[in-house]
C-alpha cells in the first residue's frame, strides 16, 4: 500500500528470494553438519531382521538384543533368498535383489534356550513390495513375556501416571508455541512438529557427532530452535501475510513445509531411530512403587521449571502481557500502541525455542528420529483444542492433561491404540465446548 509503484514481479521475486534463502540456509545448515551421515547399504535393497527379548521390570518394558538367531528370507513361492544369523545387536541384514514380496522366517530352534516368541504364530512375517518405503525394510521379532504380569494394579496406575506427567510436560512445552502463533497470526501451523524434530536432531548432532554434553549443547539448540522459528516467519509467513495470501492457503503452505522438512530430515538422518549419547544408560531409582531414572526425574523437574517460568513471563512481564494482548485481539492491541509485528516475531522465536526444548526432552525420553515431532503433532492439537486455541495457558493445561490421559488410557486400551482416547477428547470438546477450557468463543465460529 505504501509503495504502489512496486511491480508485482519485483514483489514476487523478493518473496522468492526469501523463500529460496530460507531453504538454502536450512539445507546448508544440515548438510554441513552432516547429521548422522546415514549408513548406506551395499546392495540396493535389503531386509534388516531384528530379534529382541522383551522383559518387564517395574511396569516398564525393556528390550535386549538376541544374538545367534537364524533368519531366512524367501519368496512367497518358497525360494530361499538368503539366511543370516543375528549379531550382538540382535540384527542381521539380508540383501534382496529387488523391491518385491518376501517372507521372513525366524528359526525358532535357533533361539537361545528358554526364549520363546511372545506370539508363537509370529515366527513368520510377510512383506509386500509397497512396504519398502526406503531401500531397507526392518522386521522385528519379539521374544519373552509380554503384557502386564508382575505389578499390582496400584503400582501400574502410579507408574503410568509418572510416565503421563513426563509426556504431558513435553506436549505442553511443544504446544505453547503452536497456540501462541495461532493466537497472534491466526495460522494453524502443521509444520510445528518439524520444529520439535529440529530440536531433537540438533541435540543429536551436538551430543553424538560433536560429543558435547547435552547440558552445554542444550541451550545452544534451544536458541537455534528459536532462530528456526524466526526463519519460518521471516522467510515465509510474514511475506505471505504481506502479499495478502489467505490463512487457509497459508495452512496448506505449512503442510508443504512439513513434508519438505521431514524429508530433509530423512535425507540427512536416515530412517532409523537413534539414541542420544548423554544419559543413555541409567538404572531405575525406586521412589515408592514407581521406577524412574535420574534422567527422567531431572527432565521432569526441568520441564516444570521451564513451564512455570513461561507462565510467569506471560503473566508478569511487559512483553508477556503484550503477547497475550495480541493473541486476544490483534486490532485492539495494535490500537493501544503495541508493535504487533514485533510481538509476532517474539512469538515465533519463543514457540521455536520451546518446541526445540520439547524435542530435546523427547529425544532423551525416547529416541531421536526424523518423524519424532510430527508423531506428536496430533497430541499437541488435541492439547491446544482442549485448552482453547490461541490461549497460552490453555496450551499448558491442555497439553499436560492430554499427556497424562494418553499414558493412563494405556491401562484400559491396547497400548498401540493409546492415542485414540485423545481423539475422543478432541471430538467431545469440540461438541460440548468448542472454545476449550480457556478459549474465547468469538474466534470459534
Amino acid at each position: 500500500m505504501k509503495k504502489p509503484n512496486r511491480s508485482k514481479f519485483s514483489r514476487s521475486s523478493r518473496f522468492g528470494l526469501g523463500f529460496g534463502s530460507l531453504f538454502l540456509i536450512f539445507f546448508g545448515l544440515l548438510s554441513v553438519s552432516g547429521v548422522g551421515a546415514s549408513d548406506s547399504a551395499a546392495s540396493d535393497y535389503s531386509i534388516i531382521a531384528s530379534v529382541q527379548n522383551q522383559t518387564l521390570v517395574q511396569g516398564v518394558t525393556s528390550r535386549e538384543p538376541v544374538a545367534n538367531a537364524s533368519v531366512t528370507v524367501t519368496t512367497p513361492g518358497g525360494e530361499v533368498i538368503g539366511t543370516a544369523t543375528t549379531d550382538e545387536q540382535g540384527l542381521c541384514t539380508i540383501a534382496v535383489p529387488t523391491r518385491d514380496d518376501y517372507l521372513i522366517t525366524l528359526d525358532i530352534e535357533s533361539l537361545p534356550d528358554g526364549l520363546q516368541l511372545i506370539d508363537a504364530n509370529k515366527f513368520q512375517v510377510s512383506i509386500t513390495k509397497d512396504l519398502f518405503t526406503t531401500n531397507t525394510k526392518r522386521v522385528t521379532f519379539f521374544t519373552g513375556q509380554s503384557g502386564t504380569a508382575g505389578a499390582t494394579e496400584t503400582e501400574r496406575i502410579l507408574q503410568r501416571l509418572a510416565d503421563g506427567i513426563r509426556l504431558g510436560l513435553i506436549i505442553a512445552m511443544c504446544s505453547v508455541g503452536l497456540s501462541l502463533v495461532f493466537g497472534a497470526t491466526g495460522l494453524t501451523n502443521f509444520a510445528h512438529g518439524e520444529m520439535v524434530t529440529f530440536g531433537g536432531l540438533m541435540a543429536f548432532f551436538f551430543n553424538v557427532n560433536l560429543e558435547i554434553p547435552i547440558l552445554i549443547s542444550g541451550p545452544i539448540v534451544i536458541f537455534m530452535g528459536g532462530l528456526f522459528g524466526l526463519l519460518f516467519n521471516w522467510g515465509i509467513f510474514a511475506r505471505l501475510t504481506k502479499r495478502g495470501i489467505g490463512l487457509i492457503s497459508q495452512l496448506v503452505v505449512t503442510v508443504g513445509l512439513s513434508i519438505m522438512l521431514r524429508n530433509i530430515y530423512l535425507f540427512q538422518f536416515g530412517g532409523r531411530t537413534k539414541q542420544l549419547a548423554s544419559f543413555s544408560k541409567q538404572t531405575n531409582l525406586e521412589i515408592g512403587p514407581i521406577g524412574i531414572t535420574p534422567r527422567d526425574l531431572t527432565t521432569a523437574i526441568l520441564g516444570v521449571i521451564i513451564l512455570v517460568s513461561v507462565a510467569l513471563f506471560l503473566q508478569r512481564s511487559r512483553l508477556g502481557k503484550a503477547i497475550r494482548a495480541v493473541s486476544d485481539n490483534v486490532q485492539l492491541a495494535s490500537a493501544t500502541g503495541i508493535d504487533t509485528r514485533k510481538v509476532i516475531r517474539v512469538v515465533w522465536f519463543a514457540g521455536g525455542a520451546l518446541a526445540a526444548t520439547g524435542g530435546i526432552f523427547r529425544g532423551l525420553d525416547e529416541q531421536v528420529s526424523f518423524s519424532m515431532g510430527s508423531d506428536l503433532l496430533f497430541l499437541m492439537f488435541a492439547g491446544i483444542t482442549l485448552g482453547g486455541l490461541g490461549s497460552a495457558f490453555g496450551a499448558l493445561i491442555g497439553g499436560f492433561s492430554i499427556g497424562i490421559l494418553v499414558e493412563m488410557s494405556s491401562l484400559l486400551v491396547p497400548s498401540e491404540l493409546k492415542v485414540a482416547p485423545a481423539l475422543f477428547i478432541l471430538i467431545v470438546v469440540l461438541i460440548v465446548r468448542p472454545q476449550g477450557i480457556l478459549g474465547k468463543s468469538q474466534r470459534v465460529g
Binding site: 548406506s40 509386500t128 509397497d130 496448506v252 524429508n263 465460529g445
Partner: protein
Amino acid sequence: MDWNQIIQNTIRAAVGVDAIYFAIAAIGLNVQFGYTGLVNFGQAAFMACGSYGLGVTAQYFGIGLWWGIPLGIFFVIVLALLVGVPTLRLRADYLAIVTIATAEIVRLFVRSVKFNKVFGGTDGISNYSREYRELNPFEPGATYGFAPFQFSGYSFFTILVGWTLVAIFSLLVWQLMRSPWGRVIKGIREDEDAVRSLGKNVYLYKMQSLIIGGIIGMFAGMVLALDRGTVQPDNYSRDVTFYVLTALVLGGLAKVSGSVVGSMLFWVIFVLSDNFLRELTKSGPLRIGDFTVIQSTQVGAVNYMFVGIGLMLLMSFRPQGIFGNRKEMALDGR
C-alpha cells in the same frame, strides 16, 4: 543412463494405476476442498474405507466382493459424521485438525493386533479379489497396448476400469457443480454467512459435500486395493492425503479437469525424478569431490522433498494451479 527406459516409464506413469487412484481421490477432495472450502486432511482414511470395505467383506464376512461397496459407503458415512458433526459449525481449521487426527487413528485401528481378525493387522488383507479377476476379459499373462503404453492383461483391465471410473466421477461432479446444489456449495466457500442469510442450512450442505467427496475417495481406495490385490494399512498414511492435495493444487482447484490432469502431471514428474535419481545413483553414490551429494537410499526422501517444495511454491505463487482460475481460489477461513 538409460534415457529410453526413463522416458517410457515417465510416459506410462501418466496413465498408470497410481495416476488413476490419485485422480479419483483428488476429484473427491476437490468437491470438499476446492468447491466447498472444507479442509479435509483425512482423504486417506476415506480411501481406506473403500479398500477395507472390499477386504473385510470377502475375508471376514465371507460374502461377495461387491458387498464391499455398500459396506464402504457405510464406513464413509460413519467417518464423515464422526469428523463432521463436531467441526462443520466451526472455523475451517478445526476440520483440518480433526480429520488429520482421525485418519491417523483409523490407520492405527486397522493395523492393531486387537482387530487382527477383522482387518488383518500390519499384514493387511489379501486374497479377496478373485471375483474381480474373473471379470477380466483379457489374458492376464499377455501384453496389451503399444509402446510405451504396454501393460499386462491384468493391469490393462484395471486401467480400463479405473479410467472409466475417473470419467464417470468427472462427469458427475461437473454436473453436480452446475446444479443449484453446486451453486450453494460454491456460495458456502465464498461467503458462508451470505448463504445462511438466504435460508440455506449450511451445515447440512457441508456434510453432504463431505460425504460425497468421501465416497468418491472411497472408490480411489477400491481401485488401489483391486490393483494391488492386497490392502496394507501403511498405504493410507497421513502423507497420502497431502500428495493427493499437491496433485489437486497442481492441476487447479475447483476445476473438474484439474484433478485429473494434476494427478497425471504429479506422477509424470514424480516418476521422472525418481527414475532419473535412481539411474544417477545406481552405480554408487554421486559425489562432488569428497562431498556425497546423494546415494540410492536417499532417492525417496528427495522425491518427497520436491513434493513438499512444490506444494509450498504452488500455494504461494499460483494457488489456482496450472489451469485454474484465480477468482475461484479465494479461500480464506476467518
